[in-house]
Symmetry: C2
Subunit: 136 residues, 2 copies
């Protein structure tokens, strides 16, 4: 159903079935899209409320126009985000998260808050690892 066992997921992902080349594996196919540098950040922003193009730019200061446009298009393509053009003058465009997007985001939020909560442990682990590397 909705919470699958690791083994199930693995058989979905490891492409042991011929019919699933790498790009048809459900897990990989979805993950590869949100694995981009900006997708998660934009989903994060849009999870609260709809935003316009320029507003998103300000929310994520160091994204380039190009990547903002492109990432939003990809999110729209996968059905996570809805794009509405208001023919005002000058025109404005609103991006709004769909139910599918919210559904995905609720899972992503779990990972992101985990990341925020355990960042310290991870940085510590890295330093320890890098230190014991200097035995070279």
């Amino acid at each position: 159903m909705d919470q699958r066992t690791p083994r199930e997921l693995l058989s979905f992902s490891s492409c042991d079935k011929q019919e699933w080349n790498a790009d048809n594996c459900p897990v990989r196919d979805v993950m590869n899209q949100i694995a981009g540098k900006w997708a998660t950040l934009l989903l994060l922003a849009l999870s609260e409320k709809p935003y316009r193009f320029g507003e998103l730019r300000r929310l994520v200061p160091d994204i380039s126009q190009r990547m903002l446009t492109q990432t939003l298009r990809d999110l729209q393509r996968d059905g996570y985000v809805e794009r509405t053009v208001f023919p005002t003058k000058p025109p404005s465009v609103e991006y709004k998260m769909t139910p599918l997007g919210h559904s995905l985001f609720s899972r992503l939020q779990g990972v992101m808050s985990w990341a925020a909560a355990h960042h310290g442990e991870i940085r510590a682990a890295r330093e320890k690892f890098d230190a014991s590397e200097l035995a070279a």
Copy 2:
């Protein structure tokens, strides 16, 4: 604590604080590591039980040696995986998920099973999008 609000996470991620350049943002820092092509698959495999190098290769048939080695090293560096060398002959190396790794994985599993469950909807959304694109 453990489940943060979107707004909290966004302020953690958008680098509006000077002290957090892009690579110091907790969310981005952690996400960028697991966003790789293989990290999630390996965590998936190791979540069940420890595996040896060659076993992992067979579980994920289309990974190259190079990326298997490298990804495992990164996972080890971040503290998700423990590496133990058995000085047998020929040597064998076991990779085992740490408590920290299991903790992260429990969150990732949520995303992955979501992906498996909703893959159909997403593919449908894509086809629809691509079709309405042909009005060009």
